[in-house]
């Protein structure tokens, strides 16, 4: 057998679907509900209204563009009070808390975050009526933000 043929064997044996499945399984191993409960002290959040945008693939975990938008009329009666960013793989679970109010006019925050590895990031929004909503984003991080001291 030629060396080239030998190297091609694993590619034919492992169909792409298996890779896709393991990727899904990995992201599903993160439990957004548990993450939310750990910061709210038991309060659960409904899924929806919050849209967290992160790149599918981040080359450098030290600086990953992030945008979070919440569907809200942003009026005095009905607005977003806070938006939290939660990470399970970062050393600090709470990445940031943003406080907004009716004067924002729009619930949309853009920033850049650090991610210590491939993970499912959660954005949790608290509305003026006290209800909690969340959105998640799966991001593959090629180069993790440093936790081990390198760089």
């Amino acid at each position: 057998m030629k060396r080239r043929d030998f190297l091609a064997v694993p590619l034919t044996l492992l169909p792409a679907a298996a890779f896709a499945q393991s990727r899904e399984d990995f992201f599903n191993s993160f439990d957004p509900d548990a993450m939310v409960k750990s910061v709210t002290g038991g309060g659960a959040a409904k899924r929806g209204r919050v849209k967290l945008e992160l790149p599918l693939l981040a080359d450098n975990g030290n600086s990953v563009p992030m945008k979070v938008t919440v569907e809200s009329p942003m009026t005095e009666q009905d607005h977003v009070k806070t938006i939290r960013l939660l990470s399970e793989r970062n050393p600090e679970r709470g990445m940031a808390v943003f406080h907004l109010g009716p004067r924002a006019g729009l619930a949309e925050i853009t920033s850049r975050v650090r991610l210590a590895g491939t993970q499912r990031v959660v954005a949790l929004a608290e509305m003026s009526d006290g209800s909690l909503w969340m959105g998640t984003a799966d991001v593959v991080v090629t180069l993790s933000a440093c936790v081990d001291g390198a760089g």
């Binding site: 990445m95 943003f98 853009t110």
Partner: protein, 105 residues
């Protein structure tokens, strides 16, 4: 601490404007080692606040989970002409501030 602020010079009353700020800060995680192999102590901008003519319209609590040289962009309704004032403080207690005028027509 140096910061670069993006605020539109002029805006129509009631219009939603986007305010951007880029602050020069390392946002040290506390895990990085320096050239002498010593841990660099954690130092991040903890609190950030933006006031529009004295009224707080936006604030943030940050951690090293925000990238170095933190960039923030947030919306606000252009209410009246005046000044947007930004202030922040890091773990070492070092404070920074910036201000930018806005003309609302």
């Amino acid at each position: 601490m140096v910061a670069r602020v993006q605020v539109p010079k002029e805006a129509k009353r009631g219009e939603v404007i986007r305010v951007g700020i880029l602050i020069q800060h390392p946002m040290e995680t506390g895990y990085r080692l320096d050239s002498a192999n010593q841990k660099v102590p954690k130092n991040a901008i903890r609190k950030f606040s933006c006031r529009y003519n004295g009224v707080e319209i936006f604030s943030a609590e940050m951690s090293p989970g925000i990238a170095a040289n933190p960039f923030l962009q947030f919306p606000t309704v252009a209410a009246e002409s005046g000044t947007l004032e930004f202030s922040w403080v890091d773990d070492n207690g070092e404070q920074g501030s910036a201000a930018e005028p806005i003309r609302v027509t």
